[in-house]
């Protein structure tokens, strides 16, 4: 087993809202090993983004975060603002969903990358700008030295996402969190961006967390997958085992709802995600689960190991074997 760079234990995030406290993340356990590409899948509101915004310390002050997040052995939850500032952009960095709005419209691309370099490394402005041009080259932007002097509005969406990646990897972070990096892009551009992320991961040995709701993206690039539902981690394992024999009914539902050549109709998961202000008792998925039984309504299921998968389902053993998708 390789070294773990990021260890999240029992992470909980609660937002105070006018209608009462909303627990968006309800005890997530998750590990990221050095150099791996971990996919995190889930519907909107499953808590996947909030988990990692909490890790970055980027949640608004009204969010209450408890639990433990160890980055290379250092505790991040409850760490001082100053320490978190030194972590952000240096050890941990993040790529956001919408490249069109993620860059500051009034600053030149080169300066926006140089700012990231200079805030964590003792570099002269000149050296930082030179390094910025190299980074643009690494993420595959043609004519990087001219492009560095341009403004974000002179770039296409895909090119801007490359710039965002260049900023994120500038200080060679241990973990790169990509929050739906391809969702706002065209399908052809999506593939290019995924390639850039993979290339960065291989070249610098960066661990990448790829947050997405698109299982197709996960299948293409991830080594391991975490499936999240209603603020919990419901299943995790290697990409092959998860796609080959998913155990949790939610994962099965997700896979069954994927389009496939020759398939006439998609099979959606019935019902809606639960209201997180008042989540169902016991397993949050029981209201939509075709295998639900009385026992599912009792306690929150914990992750248990079943072969090469870890599944949070009390009935996982009794369920019929899922059909293979590989």
């Amino acid at each position: 087993m390789t070294e773990k760079v990021l260890e999240i234990r029992d992470l909980r995030v609660t937002f105070e809202t006018p209608s009462g406290p909303l627990e968006a993340v309800r005890g997530v356990d998750l590990d990221v090993s050095a150099g791996e590409l971990l996919g995190v899948v889930g519907e909107s509101g499953s808590g996947k983004s909030v988990t990692f915004l909490a890790t970055m310390g980027l949640l608004p002050a009204r969010a209450r975060v408890t639990g433990s997040v160890l980055l290379a052995g250092e505790q991040l939850i409850g760490a001082s603002n100053k320490y978190m500032r030194s972590v952000r952009g240096r050890l941990l960095s993040m790529i956001f969903q919408d490249p069109l709005s993620a860059l500051n419209p009034v600053h030149r691309i080169g300066n926006q990358i140089a700012e990231m370099l200079q805030s964590h490394q003792d570099l002269s402005k000149r050296d930082a700008e030179k390094r910025a041009i190299e980074l643009l080259d690494i993420v595959g932007i043609p004519q990087p030295s001219e492009r560095a002097t341009q403004f974000p509005h002179e770039f296409s969406g895909g090119m801007r996402q490359r710039v965002v990646i260049a900023i994120a990897i500038a200080n060679n972070p241990k973990v790169l969190i990509a929050d739906e990096p391809t969702t706002a892009l065209d399908v052809t551009v999506q593939a290019q961006i995924l390639e850039v992320i993979e290339r960065v991961q291989e070249r610098f040995g960066t661990a990448v967390v790829l947050i997405t709701h698109d299982l197709g993206v996960i299948a293409r690039v991830a080594d391991r997958v975490n499936v999240m539902y209603a603020g919990r981690n419901v299943e995790q394992g290697t990409i092959d085992s998860l796609f080959d024999h998913p155990s949790h009914p939610y994962t099965r539902g997700l896979l069954a709802s994927l389009p496939e050549p020759g398939k006439q109709r998609l099979k959606p998961i019935t019902g809606f995600p639960p209201n997180m202000l008042n989540p169902p008792k016991g397993c949050a998925f029981h209201t939509r689960c075709e295998y639900a039984a009385e026992v599912c309504k009792l306690d929150l299921p914990e992750l248990q190991t079943f072969g090469d998968l870890q599944t949070a389902c009390v009935r996982a053993k009794e369920l019929p074997k899922a059909e293979s998708r590989v």
Partner: protein, 324 residues
């Protein structure tokens, strides 16, 4: 950029001509300058009246008359005012200087504090400080200057006199009666109250502009990107936040300064402050055509000029705007 500015300046010539023509017609219909002249100078001879008509271009034919007026205006052959036959340019120049002095002082003070209060309010939206600033701004906008000015006059002149035996700030004019020459201290003392009155309005307006502009920016994705870089909050606020939030505010400020040249009619009237506003009130009240037309030209020209400045500063601050 230079070409754009030159083109805009060139375009302002026909605009000025058109607007002054419309103003000329409006004044001729609205104030009947010839009748006004006769009313003010009841014993003027026929020849005098004809001379007045000639030099001001008040021919029965508006178009002919306008071009006559234009020719005399451009060649500097300006008619004296109908009352007292005063020269127009010195009067207009003094009024402009007084208004600009008051306007610039109030704008600088007003925008400075307005921006600070706006930023303070936006940093903690919904907090106690925000509520206080917002409420004060609302009060500041809502109290008309003729109320707040009288309250200040009462406090600093009347009651101060009663309590301390002297009045802190004078309530009217730019200098004491009979004063000649330049005296900075005296001038500032006379300017104080009108400046405060105008500045209160500006502070109230700009704190609200700044608050909403900065709030928009603070909630934007690129601010989150900046935060994810691990740079200091101060740098995030100034380099990423303010730099963007000031773009619309600067543009509005340029337009506002342009309209201040037209005079602060209410404030100048209350403080008997001889600026462009008072100039207009007096000359309009007497239907003094020779005084009114140059005033109009100055107003229109300054609005055109500051519109151009607003556009240029917008393009200069926001790289997405191209002036072509």
């Amino acid at each position: 950029m230079l070409r754009y500015i030159l083109r805009r300046l060139a375009w302002s010539v026909p605009t000025l001509l058109l607007v002054t023509f419309l103003v000329y017609i409006a004044l001729r219909i609205g104030t009947n300058p010839v009748e006004s002249y006769k009313r003010v100078n009841p014993r003027a001879s026929r020849a005098k009246i004809q001379q007045y008509i000639d030099v001001n271009g008040l021919d029965p034919n508006f178009i002919q008359g306008y071009f006559k007026w234009l020719k005399n205006f451009i060649t500097g052959d300006w008619a004296p005012s109908i009352k007292g036959r005063r020269e127009v340019w010195p009067a207009l120049k003094d009024a402009m200087a007084n208004t600009l002095r008051l306007g610039i002082a109030a704008t600088v003070v007003g925008i400075f504090f307005g921006l600070i209060f706006g930023v303070l309010a936006a940093l903690r939206p919904g907090g106690r400080r925000d509520v206080f600033i917002n409420t004060s701004a609302f009060v500041g906008i809502s109290i008309p200057p003729f109320i707040s000015a009288i309250l200040l006059q009462l406090l600093f002149a009347v009651y101060w006199q009663r309590w301390f035996g002297f009045s802190l700030f004078p309530t009217s004019g730019v200098y004491p009666a009979g004063h000649t020459g330049f005296d900075l201290f005296l001038m500032l003392k006379f300017m104080a109250l009108p400046t405060i009155i105008v500045a209160i309005q500006i502070i109230a307006t700009y704190s609200r502009y700044m608050r909403s502009s900065l709030l928009d920016v603070l909630n934007s994705d690129y601010m989150r990107t900046a935060r994810s870089k691990g740079i200091s909050e101060r740098r995030i606020l100034i380099k990423h936040g303010m730099r963007n939030a000031l773009i619309p505010v600067v543009t509005i400020a340029a337009l506002d300064v342009g309209s201040i040249v037209g005079g602060l009619i209410i404030t100048e009237n209350i403080f008997s402050y001889p600026g462009m506003g008072l100039y207009f009130l007096k000359s309009f009240g007497e239907g003094d055509f020779p005084l009114l037309m140059p005033w109009m030209v100055v107003i229109v020209a300054s609005i055109l000029l500051f519109n151009l400045i607003a556009d240029i500063s917008y393009a200069w601050l926001d790289p997405r705007i191209r002036l072509e």
